[in-house]
């Protein structure tokens, strides 16, 4: 396995998507899960929301090329489909800054190298407003310090400590770690009565 890269910070322009409880069915409608690969998912991110709303931020040319998604509460709730963060990443999103995330979404995003930063409502509102007013503003989200800057605005936005450490050490893709001391996995298996047949 190729050595994963440390992800210390993400810099880019912002893409604000307002609204609480945006579920993964909205991010990636189920019909696009009919596939045996993740290829091409970037074309279908928020497809139905975009069709219903010509003003949807993903339709807005001012945000073209943006890489930092700025969202509200409980982003990515619902289905565990990794197709949602896969679609976002393939679209060009490299970090998400929001009020809160569903745990499954945040975990799926992390193992793909996509950090999800959490900040309070007021900070997120400020960040969204700045980006809406000045789409060209450069945002930097720093993993280790948990500071997100946009122009001269600076907000606190943190990652769960284990995920933060995983990004900093480059160990955000855990498979190699999980296989590293496989004999210990076998040991646990031999201790579990349902594995050994009671």
């Amino acid at each position: 396995m190729s050595q994963a890269q440390a992800i210390l910070s993400v810099t880019g322009r912002g893409l604000p998507v307002r609204g609480d409880d945006i579920d993964t069915d909205r991010i990636m409608p189920a019909r696009f899960l009919k596939a045996v690969s993740f290829e091409g998912l970037e074309r279908h991110v928020f497809e139905d929301d975009r069709a219903a709303d010509p003003w949807h931020p993903f339709n807005d040319a001012r945000y073209k090329g943006a890489s930092i998604l700025v969202v509200n509460r409980n982003f990515g709730c619902g289905s565990s489909r990794e197709h949602a963060p896969q679609g976002l990443a393939r679209f060009g999103i490299a970090a998400v800054v929001g009020e809160s995330f569903s745990e499954i979404f945040q975990g799926n995003a992390a193992v793909m190298g996509l950090p999800c930063f959490a900040a309070d409502r007021e900070s997120i509102d400020r960040l969204q407003s700045i980006v809406e007013k000045t789409p060209e503003v450069t945002i930097t989200a720093d993993v280790q310090s948990g500071v997100v800057t946009a122009g001269d605005v600076r907000i606190r936005a943190s990652l769960p400590s284990a995920l933060r450490d995983a990004f900093v050490s480059g160990q955000w893709n855990p498979t190699a770690m999980l296989l590293d001391r496989f004999e210990e996995v076998r040991e646990v298996a031999t201790r579990l009565p349902y594995v050994t047949g009671f």
């Binding site: 690969s37 289905s79 809160s100 193992v111 498979t175 579990l192 009565p193």
Partner: protein, 462 residues
Amino acid sequence: MANTLFHKVWDTHTVRRLPSGQTQLFAGLHLIHEVTSPQAFDMLRQHGWRVAFPERTFATVDHIVPTSSQRRPFLDVMAEEMTVALERNCREFGIPFWPPDHENQGIVHVIGPELGLTQPGMVIACGDSHTSTHGAFGAIAFGIGTSQVRDVLASQSLALDPLKVRRIDVNGRLNPGVYAKDVILTIIRRLGVRGGVGYAYEYGGDTIDRMSLEERMTICNMSIEGGARAGYVNPDDTTFAFLKGRRFAPQGAAFDRAVAWWRSLASDANAGYDDRVGLTAGSIEPTVTWGINPGQSVGVGERIDGDARDEAFAFMGFHPGDRVAGTKIDVAFIGSCTNSRLSDLEEAARIVRGHKVAPHVKALVVPGSRTVSQAAEARGLHEIFRSAGFEWRGAGCSMCLAMNPDRLEGRQICASSSNRNFKGRQGSPTGRTLLMSPAMVAAAAIAGEVVDVRTMLDEVTA
């Protein structure tokens, strides 16, 4: 030290603390299906990894299978390709697979329990958020993404952070016409769709104690809709009686030893919880969602409260102060991993018997598995549904998520026994879902509009 089931199971399955600070947790049972696994197998091949414990993973097809005709090859070319891919992957890596025409086929969260694969004290993983269902047996069950499916295949383990535990007590008698579905919808309404983030929900209290395993599965199934990644009920005699004699359950003397171990895992009476919440069963009404997330619900007799600017009102066509009762429906769907088991179908059939589906309603019953289907047919339930005008379908996920031919069209309104009322969930970007119990769906199908099932129960019991 007094402990919760969650912590006991977590500790017995902990392999080690990873350098990242997360816990490496052994996953004792892994269930896979056609939608979230093909990319995981590709990743294995890419890295030259094998499946660590092929005998601890079980596969079936559920999301994409058509429910009208399940003859192969499927008419939908992509559905056929996904099924073939799963067959090929399972053969290559030595994983047991139940194809669409096998007697064990069905929704993963229905067949795991009915085969006795799901047992107390296990850590269970599946690439599907409704894996929380299996917590009904006193297992800790996590919905995972595809990269984690890869991790479980390669290492039989997961990198996770521990959850806090919230105890939810439900006490008292449920009124007639009020079901497990109403209990969980009420819990989510009260705690919110993000109230459970960071928590596992432990459901208890005498109402839950009296429930069957099928009812407990309905409750645990929707834990994720309340934001809780896992939900469980402590194992008890009801659990053990359910498991006894099932194909993959321990047999003979081993069963007795298993029961002793299972009992020891239940939360201790004086265990501490990170939070506690209580509900009175008698105050719960038949509950219906009116909005675009499962927390937006009301009692069937209640008026909708909320901010008119909430996008849910415009999308659904409701206004603050409206009642959901009286809403004309286009489709009635009884099925999904939440409510497609035998007792769900029996209760719906009790309402339907002797009635006709309203002429403008398309109504379908989709059993959760072939086993459920056969048991229902042995009881003549299919005839009750058919003669009322319901379609009686083959097993699968069907209209819960519309990855198969069953879907809403345009702005249709569906009375649905499923778990999610998200925008577009049932296949039409503008389609509308009203979640409710199977009995309430049956009543709505007959009335042609949302009604209080209790008005029809009076007739049934009279």
